[in-house]
């Protein structure tokens, strides 16, 4: 149910944005609105965390796991792009072409 809701909301937004792109003024309001919803969401998420003593107690452990996940995610990306694009199959010549075409 939530999955459908997520895709639906995003899809509606993309369609609106593509066919009726906001002007400068509307864009400013859009970003203000996004900031407000972001603050509300994060505060609510924080409150859920704060109201749950067992998760608060595990916060150090969660933080440690987060650093390990982030480290592997970042290193994995660098290794994949370095070996795959900068040194590998799609070597510099090809990626260089992308840049030349852009020029």
């Amino acid at each position: 149910m939530y999955y459908i809701l997520i895709f639906l909301c995003l899809g509606i937004g993309i369609l609106i944005g593509y066919f009726r792109p906001p002007g400068v003024q509307a864009n400013r309001w859009l970003h203000r609105g996004l900031l407000v919803t972001l603050i509300v969401m994060l505060a609510a998420m924080g409150a859920e965390l704060g109201a749950s003593p067992q998760i608060l107690n595990q916060m150090g452990q969660i933080g440690g796991k987060a650093v390990i996940l982030a480290f592997f995610a970042t290193v994995g990306s660098v290794v994949a792009v370095y070996l795959g694009l900068e040194r590998g199959l799609w070597n510099k010549k090809r990626m260089g072409k992308v840049e030349e075409e852009h020029q």
Partner: protein, 198 residues
């Protein structure tokens, strides 16, 4: 911006721990859900209206998509190893990795879909990824290669880490970084729930 994010979570945490009655806490889920839907519509409008980036993407052809594609493959490969080390379920580890540094959205989507503990882990993981990007971009751009520097940032290369990438590399790489960020940002709200549903 980072201070606002941190303040919102900490103030919310204090409210939840000290002030809010249990009935209010029970309603937090509804608030998150409504705010998330509103935010996704807003994010969609933002992504859809990036016509310039989409046009450049079409002009440069599919080759440019190799950068975000390899970032996706590398990120998922990395978090699969990390998840195995940490004994996290595969779908959880990959869904968290698919935040690609966009901590607010991935944290809230996973709080909604899988509970606040996974949400908190996704939030912190992706905050850490952004911080790591700020540290690594200058080093990687100088030592390894410009695209490798872009790879660290994931979805953040379209906004928060773009100025740093532009400074440490060149304008062509900055355009690649922008497109990489737009493509990965578009993938976050699609891949996170998709991987979690596997």
């Amino acid at each position: 911006m980072s201070i606002i994010v941190l303040l919102a979570v900490v103030v919310g945490g204090l409210l939840g721990a000290l002030l809010l009655p249990p009935e209010a806490v029970a309603n937090l889920d509804k608030i998150i859900e409504t705010a998330l839907c509103l935010m996704l519509v807003g994010v969609g409008i933002d992504l859809g209206s990036q016509r310039e980036a989409w046009r450049r993407l079409a002009k440069m052809g599919f080759k440019i998509l190799l950068v975000p594609l390899f970032v996706v493959l590398g990120t998922l490969g990395g978090v699969i190893i990390a998840g195995w080390l940490l004994q996290l379920p595969l779908k959880e580890a990959t869904a968290i990795g698919a935040g690609f540094g966009w901590y607010s959205l991935s944290g809230v989507i996973l709080t909604k879909l899988h509970g606040v503990e996974t949400g908190a882990l996704a939030f912190l993981t992706n905050v850490a990824r952004e911080l790591l990007t700020f540290i690594l971009v200058p080093v990687l751009a100088a030592r390894l290669g410009k695209l490798s520097a872009v790879a660290t940032g994931g979805a953040t290369t379209m906004d928060s880490t773009l100025p740093l990438i532009a400074r440490c590399t060149d304008s062509h790489t900055a355009v690649i970084a922008l497109i990489n960020g737009v493509v990965l940002s578009s993938l976050v709200p699609i891949l996170v729930p998709l991987l979690m549903s596997l």
